[in-house]
């Protein structure tokens, strides 16, 4: 023997054949070269399914395809790199490289070198995209339009998650943990935004996750994956037997727990109205900004199933005032937007100018309103209009006549408590009727209509206002027309029919369909008024809400405003009076006094019903229409629905968890039936025995003969059974069980290895079934409680059958 032939003593260990395969350089190289495609595809499937959980947050599906493309690039790219022999530990770097290349390709707009390698320009572009994405996310409400910035962030996020799960599953060999990063897209809708849990996505993700575990176990068993050393369960180690790595039961358990936890958390979130989770949501009540359509967001807040408190106020006004946030007077055709106006530091809120067009002839009253914001993070201050002064604000706030709003450069309304002194205009109908004259230039802006305005709008307006003699008459005619019985209030229908928003096409559609909500009514009235030469704009804010039952202090009522009180209405300009609100939405808010016939100075409650002027609008009187009632009633109904939904989901989860048990029980039943009917024989009975053994934590190897398994089982059920038969006599298992086991074993061996057709005399099916039952009971009775529960709920034989057919098919059939 040459010295080079000598090996280290430890390598000469008896069972080193199986171990040296790991140390051997060539085996190692082979392992490194493996791409592990099934694992990569399982990871990809898991990720893209989980990404679909973002569905409720975003419009369209393009973003999903983009995320899928990125994730596929990263995962399959890393696998490919491994395939060509890249060391495993470089995998994350390779994934990162692929991610950067994909992002450059998709978002670099050709700035990359060869379209793939990022340059300085690309990096600048990325930074801009990321910033605009963050801004878009902050400003949009859901479902958000997937802007380029958001798409960029989504793609990058998908790529990062892909790298993470690739690292976890392939490099660190803990695919069970790969389920954690993919929870991020799943939980964002549930946790961050309080959306309902996307149950389909959760269930699909769970399925994909289990598939991943399955693939991993399969690959590990096939020996293509080295696994971490697994602590073998009881009865799994026989001396001299090959150690088969990959009892991934632990992984399955971890995975199941994670899935269930995710489902429970996501489901529980939306049924906690007013809970800390929902309160913590920043600005969820009103997220809109200049760039996107406030109208649509308003509708979404109205459709929100659970009304959430926004603010409360007390007022000295005889009628609870509308609280205006801002006005929209630029009509671009697609949208109403607020006019651009430079912020002026001079416009401090302690002394606000009189509104334009105001004349001292108009009767006014000054009201003082104290407002406390409960849960609203908007940039605009809700105030009664027109405000004269605001005190008690935190931070710097400035008023802006062009947008009719009070804004702050750095603060939001969150947590503010402030007092507003406002004017209440009380013009008489006569004064309005006589308001005539040329509009000033800045008011003429509010006459503009987009060029592509359909003729229907003008035609309808002229038809409705035919015979009127003044702007006031015309405006009243429009309001009455819209509040007429032809029109119906419905927050859902426009969304379903696809004409949501305030655009000019939407208005035209709305005039035909005659179903919509405040956005449609107000924009329709404004558009029609403009079409016949009356300056008009849309105001957005809150209707007064409801008088709290407990709220009255010293005769001053406390009003609570929630998200369902968000409202849009029309303001019409009259020379000499100023902007005067109208209420074209049927059943919402209150019709201003000056639009009532004959009741010139008596303020009325809504819908023309007379009432004491100081009475707050009662929640449940006839003044509320069906829609409002429905909106209000929906909160208890919703919480009840939530509980039912939670119950159903818990039931569903349980059913899902019980599924393995069900499959196992069914299989056992079918086998027993087959045995009894004589269709199957000893082989089937033995298969059931070995499956049950696997269920109870006995590790059955394919290198083991039935007899060896039986010997181990006999030790198991014989020892306990023996004492039992002594002490109790009729106990299960024991000697009887061991004998039954032997009979089953001999039968199975005869079927497996005996002369074909020689087992014809084994026809006593009932005895065999009885034997089987005795053995199964024996195995069950000697197992610990934990094992028993596991055997029932999570039968391991489902994914690791006790007896596998290997080798060539038998030729002697």
């Amino acid at each position: 023997m040459t010295p080079s032939d000598r090996v280290a003593p430890d390598q000469a260990a008896p069972d080193q054949g199986t171990r040296t395969a790991w140390r051997d350089p060539s085996a190692r190289a082979a392992r490194l070269k493996r791409a592990e495609w099934p694992l990569a595809f399982a990871l990809l499937l898991l990720l893209v399914v989980a990404d679909a959980g973002l569905g409720p947050l975003l419009e369209g599906t393009g973003w999903w395809w983009l995320m899928t493309f990125t994730a596929a690039g990263v995962l399959l790219g890393s696998a490919g790199f491994r395939r060509v022999g890249l060391p495993v530990f470089l995998g994350p770097l390779a994934g990162l490289g692929v991610l950067v290349a994909v992002l450059t390709l998709l978002f670099g707009a050709g700035s990359g070198w060869l379209w793939l390698i990022p340059t300085g320009e690309t990096i600048d572009r990325f930074r801009d995209l990321a910033l605009s994405g963050v801004v878009s996310i902050e400003q949009q409400s859901t479902p958000a339009e997937a802007t380029a910035g958001i798409l960029f962030l989504l793609s990058a996020g998908a790529g990062v998650i892909a790298i993470l799960i690739d690292t976890l599953a392939v490099i660190l060999r803990v695919p069970a943990l790969a389920g954690l990063p993919v929870l991020v897209p799943l939980l964002v809708p549930g946790l961050a935004l309080g959306h309902e849990a996307n149950l389909e996505a959760l269930v699909l993700t769970a399925a994909a996750y289990l598939l991943l575990l399955h693939v991993e176990i399969r690959m590990r068993r096939a020996g293509s994956l080295p696994g971490p050393p697994v602590v073998a369960g009881p009865g799994t180690v026989a001396p001299g037997r090959r150690h088969v790595p990959g009892s991934s039961k632990g992984a399955v358990v971890v995975g199941s727990v994670a899935i269930v936890a995710a489902i429970v958390v996501s489901v529980a979130t939306p049924v906690l109205p007013g809970g800390s989770l929902t309160r913590a949501r920043p600005g969820s009540s009103l997220l809109f900004a200049n760039g996107v359509s406030p109208m649509i967001n308003l509708g979404q807040d109205l459709r929100r199933p659970d009304a959430e408190p926004v603010l409360h106020f007390r007022t000295t006004a005889t009628r609870p005032p509308y609280l205006r946030l801002l006005t929209l007077d630029e009509f671009s055709g697609r949208n109403w937007t607020a006019g651009e106006a430079p912020r002026s530091r001079a416009n401090a809120v302690d002394d606000i100018d009189l509104p334009p067009g105001f004349s001292p002839d108009i009767k006014t009253s000054e009201t003082i309103t104290t407002i406390g914001i409960d849960n609203l993070a908007a940039r605009w201050l809700p105030t009664p209009a027109p405000p004269r002064s605001v005190t008690g604000l935190l931070g710097a706030w400035y008023w802006n006549e062009a947008t009719g709003s009070i804004t702050s450069p750095g603060d939001t309304t969150r947590g503010q408590e402030y007092t507003v002194t406002a004017l209440t205009l009380e013009p008489t109908a006569e004064q309005l009727r006589e308001a005539e004259g040329a509009y000033p230039a800045e008011i003429r802006r509010s006459l503009r209509l987009p060029a592509e305005t359909p003729a229907l709008i003008g035609d309808t307006a002229r038809e409705v206002t035919a015979g009127t003699t003044s702007a006031y008459e015309a405006a009243r005619a429009l309001q009455d027309y819209l509040r007429g019985s032809d029109f119906a209030y419905d927050t859902e229908a426009p969304v379903e029919a696809g004409y949501d928003g305030g655009g000019i096409d939407v208005v035209s559609t709305f005039l035909e369909v005659k179903t919509g909500y405040c956005v449609h009514f107000s924009s329709a009235m404004a558009a029609m008024a403009r079409s016949i030469g009356i300056p008009s704009r849309i105001a957005i804010g809150y209707q007064p809400g409801s008088l709290s039952a407990s709220g009255s202090v010293a005769g001053v009522g406390r009003y609570s405003v929630d998200t369902h009180d968000l409202h849009a209405w029309t303001e019409v300009y009259f020379e000499g009076v100023g902007w005067v609100p109208f209420e074209p939405t049927p059943g919402r808010g209150a019709v201003p006094a000056y639009t009532q016939d004959d009741a010139v100075t008596v303020p009325l409650t809504d819908s023309g019903q007379a009432g004491p002027s100081d009475a707050p609008r009662p929640e449940d009187l006839g003044g509320q229409n069906a829609a409002d009632a429905q909106a209000d009633a929906s909160s208890p109904a919703d919480s009840r629905g939530g509980i039912i939904r939670l119950g159903l989901l818990v039931l569903g989860t349980f059913a899902l968890l019980l599924l393995p048990a069900l499959i196992r029980v069914t299989r056992r039943m079918l086998r027993r039936r087959g045995l009894l009917s004589g269709q199957s024989g000893a082989v089937e009975a033995w298969r059931e025995v070995s499956d049950t053994a696997v269920d109870h934590g006995v590790f059955v190897r394919e290198t083991e003969t039935p007899r060896e398994l039986a010997a181990r089982l006999r030790v198991l059920i014989g020892s306990v059974g023996g004492t039992e038969s002594v002490t109790e006599g009729a106990g299960p298992g024991g000697g009887a069980a061991a004998e039954a086991l032997d009979r089953l074993l001999v039968g199975a061996e005869r079927s497996h290895y005996g002369r074909p057709g020689d087992d014809a005399q084994s026809a006593r099916a009932a005895e065999r079934v009885a034997d089987l039952d005795v053995v199964l009971r024996g195995i069950h009775s000697v197992s610990g409680r934990r094992l028993r529960v596991r055997a029932t709920l999570l039968p391991a034989s489902l994914w690791r059958p006790g007896e596998r057919r290997i080798g060539r098919p038998a030729v002697n059939a």
Binding site: M1, D5, R6, V7, P9, A12, P14, D15, G17, T18, G240, R241, R242, G678, Q679, S680, G681, V683, E702, T703, E704, T705, P706, R707, E708, V746, E749, R750, S751, H752, Y753, G754, R755, P756, G757, D758, Q761, E803, R805, I806, G807, R808, P809, A810, V811, N812, A813
Partner: protein, 353 residues
């Protein structure tokens, strides 16, 4: 050769009651399996009155005998190699001869020699020690290669050719050779090719304390061999052998055996794998073991339990594995056990219910 097909086949089930006449049956052709099992038990019991605590070795030896193979007993001196061989031979009623191999033993001493008969004035053949049903070859490695070759040729061919005449050896014919692995100086260890002729190699091992104490009591004064009598007649033995040949080996078991043997050829720790003859003998031995247990079909367990005995002495460990080990036997046995443990067991004909 008594491998001719037999017709009166009735292999009853295992469930039958063990018992019935053993000693006086003259049915030479076939013995039913319960009877085989009972006879085997009787032989084993008989042998074990002489050798305590060596059940596995005794059973394997009987298995080889029934499978019509040859047995190599390899162990240090004084553990009862010869005793086992003798006891086994005496337990069956057949001719036994014993050859003590020494370096000066000539081939003709084994095979026989033609002697000139002065009376008849012609050469007549004087059969050597090989002409017996059971031949005990003691310390076979002490003989010269020439003599070893002569013996081994007889073992394989079951005939002797001397001076152009061929003489058939009696059936059954089994050589039980012993070999001392320690004291190798001046010996001629059997080459691999010749070890292949033996169906199985067993080693006795030292007895445990209890057995050794019992041995002191039993063998203090007299050799216990004197008290042994045959429990099975020669005809019965032949009947048992016939029954063994009729044991069924299913395709699954054959497949398993082949994959086991093939694994030894591919194993990187072995320089020399098992030959096709080894496959054949492994199946034969397994059949005998199945019959010993009253089964008419071979189980993978039979293969497993015989693999070390049947394959061990045919394999040569690579020098890398052997390392500083003086004795390759245990190393090779471990390798065989490892291969057995790592070879998947096919489940057989599940096609029929």
């Amino acid at each position: 050769m008594n491998t001719s097909p037999l017709r009166s086949v009735s292999v009853p089930a295992l469930a039958g009651n063990v018992g019935g006449p053993v000693a006086d049956t003259d049915d030479e052709t076939l013995m039913d399996l319960p009877a085989v099992e009972a006879a085997a038990r009787a032989i084993i019991r008989n042998v074990e009155t002489v050798i305590d605590g060596k059940h596995t070795a005794v059973t394997t030896a009987l298995t080889v005998l029934l499978a019509q193979g040859h047995l190599l007993i390899e162990d240090v001196p004084g553990v009862g190699k010869t005793m086992l061989a003798k006891a086994l031979a005496k337990s069956v009623h057949c001719t036994v001869s014993r050859v003590q191999f020494t370096p000066d033993l000539l081939p003709s001493d084994v095979t026989g020699v033609s002697v000139f008969n002065q009376v008849d004035r012609r050469f007549e053949f004087k059969p050597g020690a090989i002409f017996a049903n059971i031949v005990i070859g003691d310390e076979i490695n002490r003989a010269s290669p020439k003599t070893q070759s002569a013996l081994l040729e007889c073992m394989e061919e079951r005939q002797v050719t001397v001076d152009g005449s061929t003489y058939l050896l009696p059936l059954p014919f089994t050589v039980v050779a012993t070999q001392n692995p320690i004291e190798m100086e001046g010996t001629y260890a059997l080459p691999e090719a010749q070890r292949d002729r033996f169906m199985a190699r067993i080693s006795m091992g030292y007895p445990d304390t209890e057995s050794e104490l019992m041995m002191l009591d039993a063998r203090d004064t007299s050799s216990p061999l004197a008290g042994i009598e045959a429990v099975v007649s020669g005809a019965q033995l032949r009947g048992m052998m016939t029954a063994v040949q009729r044991v069924f080996a299913s395709p699954a078991v054959k497949e398993y055996t082949v994959s086991l043997v093939r694994a030894t050829r591919d194993d990187r720790d072995l320089r020399l794998g098992a030959s096709p003859r080894a496959t054949l003998q492994l199946i034969r031995a397994a059949k005998a073991q199945a019959a010993l247990h009253g089964r008419d079909y071979v189980l993978p367990d039979d293969i497993d339990s015989l693999a070390v005995a049947v394959l061990g002495h045919r394999l040569v460990a690579s020098s890398r594995v052997l390392g500083h080990h003086q004795d390759s036997g245990p190393v090779v046995d471990d390798i065989v056990r490892r291969i057995v443990a790592a070879t998947p067991v096919p489940v057989g004909a599940t096609g029929h219910p």
